[in-house]
């Protein structure tokens, strides 16, 4: 075995000097959340870096809903799931049809729609939230899951259309022409030629929309208020309303809530990184 030269060791040491702070910076808030989740209340509040008696008791309390704040844990988890999945499905439907129409069918006015979508993409989310809240009230949708679903679809679609349109443009136009020669109708081209080829981008966009909706706090907090209608992040925010919030339970619930997106992200990482970063900034 060849021993590393002094210069190589020096480079490696310098890289570690960057790598270790980066690792700590990234992990400390997440580790702290995990630490609370496995700590009994006394340990959590004593500022220890590892609990004297690590325990899964907090998880038991959450899963058995043994606290006032956790009465509706399962229904809130379910609300989050239903809303995230609906947003994913609806966004995929809307964005794929639009991208197909603009990119493959060259529909008149397609360019204008793309610009409108791009414009929406650039409206800061918190700014749109104010008029959106009032609008949902006018539509009579406040405290109804549809308000959050439709709001998140509105926010997710522009980016989805943008990314899918760019991916569509890369598919060779000869494929469509060949299908037309074989007598395929427009819908058959969409279903049998377009969708299968777009699969990787569709997975990326579907995941993006699901995660966006699952992680959303502001819109959920504005649009839903009834304890049995709210999503998990709103429930977590409500923990803070109490004077003596059960922080160890808050962190445990937060940890459980953060697991699905992390898992989904890692499962689809291959698709997401390429698909999403390509669309964010065309360089």
């Amino acid at each position: 075995m060849k021993l590393p030269s002094l210069r190589e060791v020096g480079t490696e040491a310098r890289l570690l000097l960057i790598g270790i702070p980066v690792f700590l910076w990234t992990m400390i808030p997440i580790y702290h959340m995990f630490l609370f989740a496995i700590s009994p209340k006394e340990d959590a509040f004593s500022g220890k870096l590892w609990p004297d008696h690590p325990t899964l008791h907090n998880f038991e309390i959450v899963f058995k809903q043994q606290h006032y704040f956790l009465r509706d844990f399962y229904i809130q988890f379910w609300n989050s799931t239903v809303i995230a999945v609906s947003v994913g499905v609806l966004t995929l439907f809307i964005a794929t049809s639009a991208a197909f129409a603009i990119s493959r069918l060259k529909v008149p006015g397609g360019r204008a729609v793309l610009n409108l979508a791009l414009f929406t993409y650039f409206i800061p989310a918190a700014f749109l939230a104010v008029p959106m809240y009032r609008t949902m009230g006018n539509y009579g949708l406040l405290n109804n899951h549809w308000s959050l679903i439709l709001a998140m679809v509105t926010i997710a679609s522009p980016y989805a259309i943008w990314v899918l349109k760019q991916a569509s443009d890369k598919l060779p136009v000869e494929l469509d022409e060949a299908a037309v020669m074989d007598g395929a109708t427009t819908l058959q081209i969409f279903r049998l030629v377009y969708l299968p080829l777009m699969m990787p981008s569709l997975v990326a966009i579907g995941t993006y929309a699901v995660l966006l909706a699952w992680n959303e706090y502001l819109y959920a907090f504005l649009l839903l208020s009834n304890d049995r209608e709210i999503t998990l992040p709103v429930a977590l925010g409500n923990f803070l309303a109490a004077d003596d919030s059960p922080w160890e339970l808050l962190m445990t619930t937060g940890f459980i809530y953060a697991l699905p997106p992390a898992a989904v992200y890692y499962a689809f990482r291959r698709y997401m990184v390429g698909g999403l970063t390509a669309g964010a900034v065309k360089s």
């Binding site: 808030p29 989310a125 502001l218």
Partner: protein
């Protein structure tokens, strides 16, 4: 062409099929869902909001509200200082993560976590770490120095810096990832040639990396500014706008007015940000739709 009537069937003008191919007709049908969403949840709310904010009294009221002025300044600090620090770190780290090492690859997989996990539990986790009595940071300060640590979120300047820190924590991975893509697109031959010529790392950065990445970097910075204007979580979940409403940014201020049932003030505060946002948006749209 004259309108012809045959039986009770009326044909208005030339048949649609002569103006549109079937494919284009399908195209319109397929665009319709997005257009409906756009009309119902972007156009209508925005017009309605502008209508609500139309009265000049709103702007007079904002002008006299010291919280508004403070929020505007905080937003500027967030954008000008926070974003630039974040993007410079991202540019630096993109070089680090572009290195070919197994352990760096693993680190990059972990590094993405803040972006992938939801804001609320992680920001609340930071909030608790900064708690003056029970937070781990002041516990550590006490055990090392024997003194009580500062009350981190009680001083508006410190609290705002912490909110900027949280914002950087959350969004740094995304921008680093994009800048890595930019770096990897640079031809490797250039660096090898520079290596042969004995260029220092700074010279390589100055004459190869930066010129190739400049456009991407500027685009990312501007896009990040637009998105940061919409970042409600970093400030709201960490400080709630406090102490004494001194750490609000425009994103949280609008929501604060909304919660106080002052919808026209909420809209007016957002309208005030438009002269800054619209040029950014215009510029970004020109860039992206080239």
């Amino acid at each position: 062409m004259a309108i012809t009537l045959s039986g009770d069937q009326a044909l208005p003008g030339p048949p649609l099929s002569s103006r549109l191919t079937t494919a284009q007709a399908w195209g319109i049908v397929l665009l319709a869902p997005y257009l409906l969403v756009f009309l119902a949840f972007v156009v209508y709310p925005v017009c309605y909001g502008l209508w609500l904010a139309r009265a000049p009294e709103n702007y007079v009221a904002l002008y006299h509200d010291p919280i508004f002025a403070r929020a505007a300044i905080n937003t500027l600090i967030f954008l000008v200082i926070g974003i630039n620090i974040k993007m410079m770190i991202a540019l630096f780290l993109s070089g680090f993560f572009a290195m070919q090492r197994t352990w760096i690859k693993w680190l990059s997989v972990i590094f993405i976590l803040p972006w992938a996990v939801p804001s609320i539990p992680t920001i609340l986790s930071v909030r608790f770490m900064l708690n003056p009595e029970w937070g781990v940071i002041n516990h550590l300060i006490f055990s090392f120095t024997g003194d009580d640590g500062p009350n981190w979120l009680n001083d508006p300047t410190v609290a705002l810096s912490m909110a900027i820190g949280v914002h950087i924590w959350k969004s740094l991975p995304f921008w680093t990832l994009i800048l890595i893509t930019g770096r990897l697109a640079i031809s490797h031959d250039l660096f090898e040639a520079a290596e042969v010529d004995g260029a220092s790392w700074w010279q390589k950065f100055r004459f190869i990396t930066w010129p190739s990445m400049q456009t991407l970097y500027v685009t990312c910075t501007l896009l990040s500014m637009i998105w940061t204007l919409g970042d409600f979580n970093s400030v709201y979940l960490l400080t709630g706008g406090g102490p004494a409403d001194l750490t609000h940014v425009l994103a949280t201020l609008g929501i604060r007015y909304l919660r106080l049932d002052q919808l026209s003030l909420a809209m007016a505060s957002i309208v005030c940000a438009m002269p800054f946002v619209l040029p950014l948006v215009y510029f970004m749209m020109k860039r992206l739709s080239r």
